[in-house]
Amino acid sequence: MSPQTFLLPDVGEGLTEAEIVQWRVAPGDTVAVNDVLVEIETAKSLVELPSPFSGAVGELLAAEGETVNVGAPIITIVPSTQGTDAAAGPDVVGQSEHGEPADPEGGSVLVGYGSAGHVQSRRRKPAVTAHERVEASVGVVAKPPIRKLARDLAVDLAAVVPSGAAGEVTREDVVRHASQASVFRNIETPAWPGVREETIPVAASPAPPAATAPRPAPEVAEEREESIPVRGVRKATATAMTSSAYSAPHVTVWTDVDATRTMELVRRLKTSPDFADVKVSPLLIMARAVIWAVRRTPMVNAAWIDTENGAEIRVRHYVNLGIAAATPRGLLVPNIKDAQDLSLRELARALERLTLTAREGRSTVADQHGGTVTITNIGVFGMDAGTPIINPGEAGIVALGTIRQKPWVVDGEVRPRYVTTVAGSFDHRVVDGDGMSRFIADVASILEEPALLLD
């Protein structure tokens, strides 16, 4: 028969230890249930402990004078061979350390908590499950600090695409939206009088595209010269620029146009429920205008291809509309595939997606491949016009300049109107002077009268 162990119990509601004062039995003695085994002294009193077992005393596990923790074993008793006791209880009785059941299978005592409190270690938990979708409230799901941030950055929370696990707008969403707005919104496009349009604060220092200023000049010139290795996107861009500039004879033409009606249209679209969840800007109208104008001057949407059999001009009957984008990685030109098939709303969505993707540096090679004509928005830098370099593999690139109020003659009177410059560079091997002028004039016409798009 295996010996049974008696653990020191908590005899006084929360005691943690006791001193062995006097053993009343010795190893080998025969004891019956309830016979006094030992006298102990606790913080409260002297107590005699009666035996829970009958049999022969095995070992005394604590010495007289020793202080023992509640739950520590103090004596073993070898049960008698008689049957009555064997059925009576489990092998270990008394207070075990840290309050665990003395014998989990025996279902014995758990009284009091022992010396060290009863929390051993943290029970193990599986990983926290995914967020539940936040109950859709009317309006935007965003935590208070994010709401404040949005207010501080003058971002319309309703316009932000939320990326939070529970469907909420995150801090990153707000920041991205704010900086995107400062790049792809024409900073000189003021609010139409009477329209409650949010004002975009001029970003402290709008980051110019990497192509023109790789990084800010050091504040203190440590050395007289600095060497920057040319690698990666910079290298690719330089190669592309060089090959384009020195293979295609570039000619740039431009015109000024009264874009007031475009501004009106943009305002109306912004407040339209159909365009409530999508970005609307003059760039959108310009994009549509380019697609429309390309239909009328297809040669702009072509490319000079050198083959073994000689050169050919490949005219594309689809428009993969490239948008020059300044991204963290440098200047990229991702394009919107088959832009000619998109409705105005779809085009707006595509522009928005392309923009976000580019800003996050996630534009893929496929995104940048296969462009047929490109728009570059230099208006964000406050420029009226420029001489953009054609994207390799294409024959034309259109520059949208800043839109600002200037004096204009309307019906014989000088009036302030929203005026902009539309410029374009063309590969003169592919597009002749007549073509490029007509093309730019067409684009400008749309900006002047967007209703022409109905044609």
Binding site: V134, E135, S137, V138, V141, A142, K143, P144, E168
Partner: protein
């Protein structure tokens, strides 16, 4: 059996449809109906017999139902609640009256150590359908101990249900529903509302006992409160309207358990909430409700939930109670703060 005296100029039960009654008369009618519907119901308290209670809530009831159903007890609050527990053990449904809020404390041990725990202690073997009616709150120019708002002590005690009607119609129905509940109910009667009248529809119960109620629709801020404060909230909402702010008002009705549904629905629409209460604010019912609303409506909140409460001082002498108790001005100040976020 009712006697001829019962109808001689004293309270008579409304016979049908909608009647305009003061809160105390509505309670009287509700108690009468409960006594008539179930002969195990009995009322017990000080001065509730011939006097009809210091607020006349039990007027005429002893004459109609007898001294074995409507008991004038000795002046001992612990005794009232303790013997009510024993009467519940004998199968009765006692409705105790504590004469004033400030006098509930001698009975506090029997309420919290006994009544609140005794169902649990018996592991459900016995039920304790005891109602304790307590007039509470200020605004009647009373002396010390007669204007307390002790609701937090009871809402904090598991095992009790706590309710507070704000209108005569709610008083009529909620007293009956409290008596019908098999659980102990602390029934808080806003004494400043005893005499103003309101419509009572005795034919149809509008809401369950533990439901909260939207009493005024609005769009900008949700105002929530209980008991006497509901009328103040409506007043504040009316004033806010004239200033161009649209407030929604919710009457809590049940203090424990709280029906959060209408509150959360409202806050998800307005994004702002103010809780108003006469009770001292520190560790109050309003604090609990604010924390829960902030947790459950976090993403809808444009501003933190604000509380307007009594100051954390003993209730002042009556001359100062106008300064102590939240009024429309203080509520509107909180509304302005909420809107400024």
């Amino acid at each position: 059996m009712s006697t001829a005296n019962a109808s001689a100029g004293s309270a008579t039960a409304p016979t049908s449809g909608i009647e305009s009654l003061p809160f105390s008369r509505a309670l009287n009618a509700g108690l009468r109906r409960a006594l008539a519907d179930n002969d195990r119901v009995l009322l017990m308290g000080e001065d509730i017999g011939p006097l009809g209670g210091v607020f006349r809530v039990t007027e005429g009831l002893q004459a109609e139902f007898g001294a074995n159903r409507v008991l004038d007890t000795p002046l001992a609050e612990s005794g009232i609640v303790g013997t009510a527990i024993g009467l519940a053990m004998a199968g009765f449904r006692p409705v105790c009256e504590i004469q004033f809020d400030g006098f509930v404390f001698p009975a506090f041990d029997q309420i919290t150590s006994q009544l609140a725990k005794i169902t649990n202690r018996h592991e459900g073997a016995l039920r304790f359908p005891v109602v304790i009616r307590i007039p509470y709150g200020g605004h009647i120019g009373a002396v010390e101990h007669h204007q307390e708002s002790p609701e937090a002590y009871f809402t904090h005690t598991p095992g009790l249900r706590v309710v507070s009607p704000s209108t005569p119609n709610d008083a009529y129905w909620m007293i009956q529903d409290s008596i019908a509940s098999d659980d102990p109910v602390i029934f808080l009667e806003p004494k400043s509302r005893y005499w103003p009248k309101g419509d009572v529809d005795t034919t149809a119960r509008a809401l369950p006992l533990h439901a909260s109620r939207l009493v005024r629709r609005g769009t900008d801020v949700t105002l929530v409160g209980h008991g006497a404060m509901v009328a103040t909230l409506l007043q504040a909402a009316a004033l806010a309207e004239s200033e161009g702010t649209s407030c929604e008002v919710i009457d809590l009705r049940s203090l424990s358990p709280v029906d959060y549904g209408p509150i959360l629905d409202s806050v998800r629409r307005t994004g702002r909430m103010v809780y108003a209460q006469e009770a001292p604010g520190f560790t109050s019912l309003g604090s609990e409700i604010s924390a829960t609303v902030m947790e459950r409506a976090f993403y809808a909140l444009e501003a933190p939930v604000l509380r307007v409460s009594g100051y954390d001082t003993p209730f002042p002498p009556a001359k100062l109670e106008g300064k102590y108790l939240p009024d429309a001005d203080r509520i509107l100040e909180a509304v302005d703060r909420a809107l400024a976020y």
